[in-house]
């Protein structure tokens, strides 16, 4: 008997999740990225145990009796800044803020993008045209002016940064998902589901979404670093929440207070490396997921 299998064949009885993990484990870049992410994830989770955010207030930092601009040799592990605050504490807390913003902004992007993309792609026709024109309208809004305008209207907070990133990045996601839905909806099993009397909601939930979820997952992972970089940009421009130091905020303060000219490298290098490591790790994991979801990509390497 011939097995006409167009998909990757797995051993019988092996679950999809199991075979997915086996493929992921085979990728070195994926595993390195995952290890970095797990490390930073743990750091972000335990941050409230290591660091008391009250110490980021200049008044509290002064009462602690910390030295000012102390290099790591004088105030281990990472020295202090112009306001006598521990750079290590800011780094640890910053991992929490950067990851939260990165993941939350991506979640906003995914939810809006998937909803618009699936509805436009599945329904088609006039609704599709209408939704795509709205998407294009959002696409041409320049990111920074909108961010600055929203921040001045809504105030400077971490949630506003998440909102701004989400509002400006969902159109790309919507277009990507729509194109994928357009191909999935042509497949015979969707006709089959309709022929057995299924409603649209059922078809979307059971047949469309599971078949685009690989793409959504891979792109979500690739979208997190972009969100983190956006957060860094916005914080660096002074739009972040001053009481909630992110890595971008740290870079901004280091820049504004002349850490570079003072040669106080310990103030900006940890945050910079943190951003680099997390962004790189997410990209590595995302690429690996993308290759598993679309085997054609992997062979080109």
């Amino acid at each position: 008997m011939t097995v006409r299998s167009m998909t990757r064949s797995g051993a019988p009885g092996v679950s999809a999740a199991g075979s997915f993990w086996r493929q992921f484990r085979r990728s070195r870049q994926g595993m390195i990225g995952l290890a970095i992410l797990v490390a930073f994830g743990i750091l972000a989770l335990v941050a409230p145990l290591i660091v008391d955010p009250a110490q980021f207030s200049p008044v509290v930092a002064r009462t602690l009796g910390n030295p000012q601009w102390a290099p790591p040799s004088e105030f281990p592990p990472l020295g202090t800044d112009h306001l006598r605050r521990s750079v290590w504490a800011q780094f640890v807390w910053g991992s929490r803020v950067s990851l939260t913003v990165g993941l939350a902004a991506t979640a906003v992007t995914m939810v809006i993008g998937t909803a618009v993309g699936v509805i436009a792609g599945y329904r088609g026709g006039r609704l599709d045209s209408f939704l795509m024109r709205i998407t294009e309208w959002f696409l041409v809004i320049p990111f920074l002016p909108l961010a600055i305008a929203l921040a001045s209207v809504l105030g400077r907070s971490t949630w506003n940064i998440i909102l701004v990133i989400g509002l400006t990045s969902w159109p790309w996601m919507a277009r990507l998902i729509r194109s994928q839905v357009l191909t999935v909806k042509q497949r015979l099993f969707v006709d089959r589901a309709r022929s057995l009397g299924a409603k649209s909601g059922h078809i979307i939930r059971n047949h469309i979404l599971p078949n685009v979820s690989g793409l959504i997952l891979a792109n979500a992972t690739l979208w997190v670093p972009i969100s983190i970089l956006s957060e860094t940009t916005l914080s660096f421009l002074g739009l972040g929440n001053p009481g909630n130091p992110s890595w971008g905020k740290t870079l901004e303060e280091a820049f504004a207070n002349g850490a570079m000219t003072r040669n106080a490298w310990w103030y900006f290098v940890p945050a910079g490396l943190g951003i680099l490591a997390v962004v790189l790790a997410f990209t590595m994991v995302g690429r690996t997921l993308e290759e598993i979801a679309d085997p054609k990509l992997g062979k080109e390497r």
């Binding site: 008997m1 006409r4 299998s5 797995g10 999809a16 089959r192 022929s195 009397g197």
Partner: protein
């Protein structure tokens, strides 16, 4: 006798395309009694798959349908969306061709077989659905434990069996099998067809069997209808039609299958010359006349209607 499961009355389907209207089905009337079976045969593009789609109202929006389709006594094209959904799969179910593509690659086959039951709420609990799936799988000759498998883990024949199990899930009165065995090798094809025949006997299912393989139809169907260019050109009890075709087209189709042990047919394979006509530009008169070995001048003038050609037989040719 009870009312027929399926009645088509002067069914016409026209596809609106950018190149103009293409008539795919041009006035087809047929009937399948409860528990009966009809084989629909013809070359590619003669409209046989369009009929399958028209019965459950699955044709794309570009298709214009006129005439009547009565499925279990209900006019499919008069039904409201809710009523249409209710009729789909409970009155008539389709066994799709191309089993790989008709199954969702990322869903377990057990869940896919359970899908029609959950959609139509014929089972009350997930556990009952599971039991029923196991029954259905066993009835098509697949061990019940394979319910947890994904489509790519099954062979082509097994996937086709899964589709048959799925078609039976809501105990339909009519099964529409649209080329259920294309892309299967001959041995598997025979097994799948035997399975279909067994299930028909056990469940008193009516069957509309669509294929281009005339020899299959004579074995598995009571009656045979031959389509050419969107119309039925010959109809009758399958054995009689295959053994003594009235229409020259049927004769050509039947002659295309070599008879085992017949030397002359082996040495001189006969079949039909030429290609099926383009549905958008049908020849005038009888659409078959350009390929017909017996064509006469009057064949170019008017398209012949179906007329009696024998006991329970009809054919659309001026020569009968």
């Amino acid at each position: 006798m009870s009312e027929p499961v399926l009645v088509l009355e002067d069914l016409r389907v026209t596809y609106r395309t950018s190149g103009g209207a293409v008539p795919a089905v041009r006035g087809v009337s047929l009937e399948i009694p409860a528990g009966g079976s009809l084989g629909l045969a013809g070359e590619s593009g003669c409209g046989k798959s369009t009929i399958a789609g028209a019965v459950l109202r699955l044709l794309p929006g570009t298709a214009e349908v006129s005439g009547r389709v009565l499925l279990a006594g209900k006019d499919v094209y008069e039904l409201k969306p809710g009523g249409l959904r209710a009729v789909r799969w409970t009155a008539g179910a389709i066994v799709f061709q191309g089993a790989l593509h008709a199954l969702n690659p990322v869903q377990r086959i057990g869940d896919q077989i359970a899908e029609p039951m959950l959609v139509h709420q014929t089972v009350s609990t997930p556990k009952a659905a599971k039991t029923r799936v196991a029954e259905l799988l066993e009835s098509v000759g697949i061990p019940a434990r394979r319910a947890a498998a994904y489509p790519h883990q099954l062979s082509g024949g097994q996937r086709q069996r899964v589709l048959i199990a799925m078609a039976l899930a809501c105990d339909p009165q009519l099964l529409i099998a649209d080329e259920p065995t294309t892309a299967l090798d001959v041995m598997v094809q025979a097994q799948v067809l035997e399975l279909l025949a067994d299930l028909r006997r056990q469940r008193d299912l009516a069957l509309l069997f669509i294929t281009h393989d005339l020899s299959l139809l004579t074995t598995y169907c009571d009656r045979l209808a031959i389509m050419y260019a969107g119309r039925i050109v010959e109809e009758g009890p399958s054995g009689d039609v295959f053994a003594g075709p009235s229409h020259p087209y049927t004769r050509g189709l039947a002659a295309a299958f070599p008879r085992i042990g017949d030397r002359s047919s082996r040495m001189a394979p006969s079949g039909l010359g030429g290609d099926p006509p383009d549905p958008a530009a049908l020849p005038a008169g009888c659409p078959f006349h350009p390929r017909c070995p017996l064509a006469r001048p009057e064949c170019r003038e008017a398209e012949p209607a179906l007329r009696i050609s024998g006991p329970e037989r009809r054919a659309a040719c001026i020569l009968v």
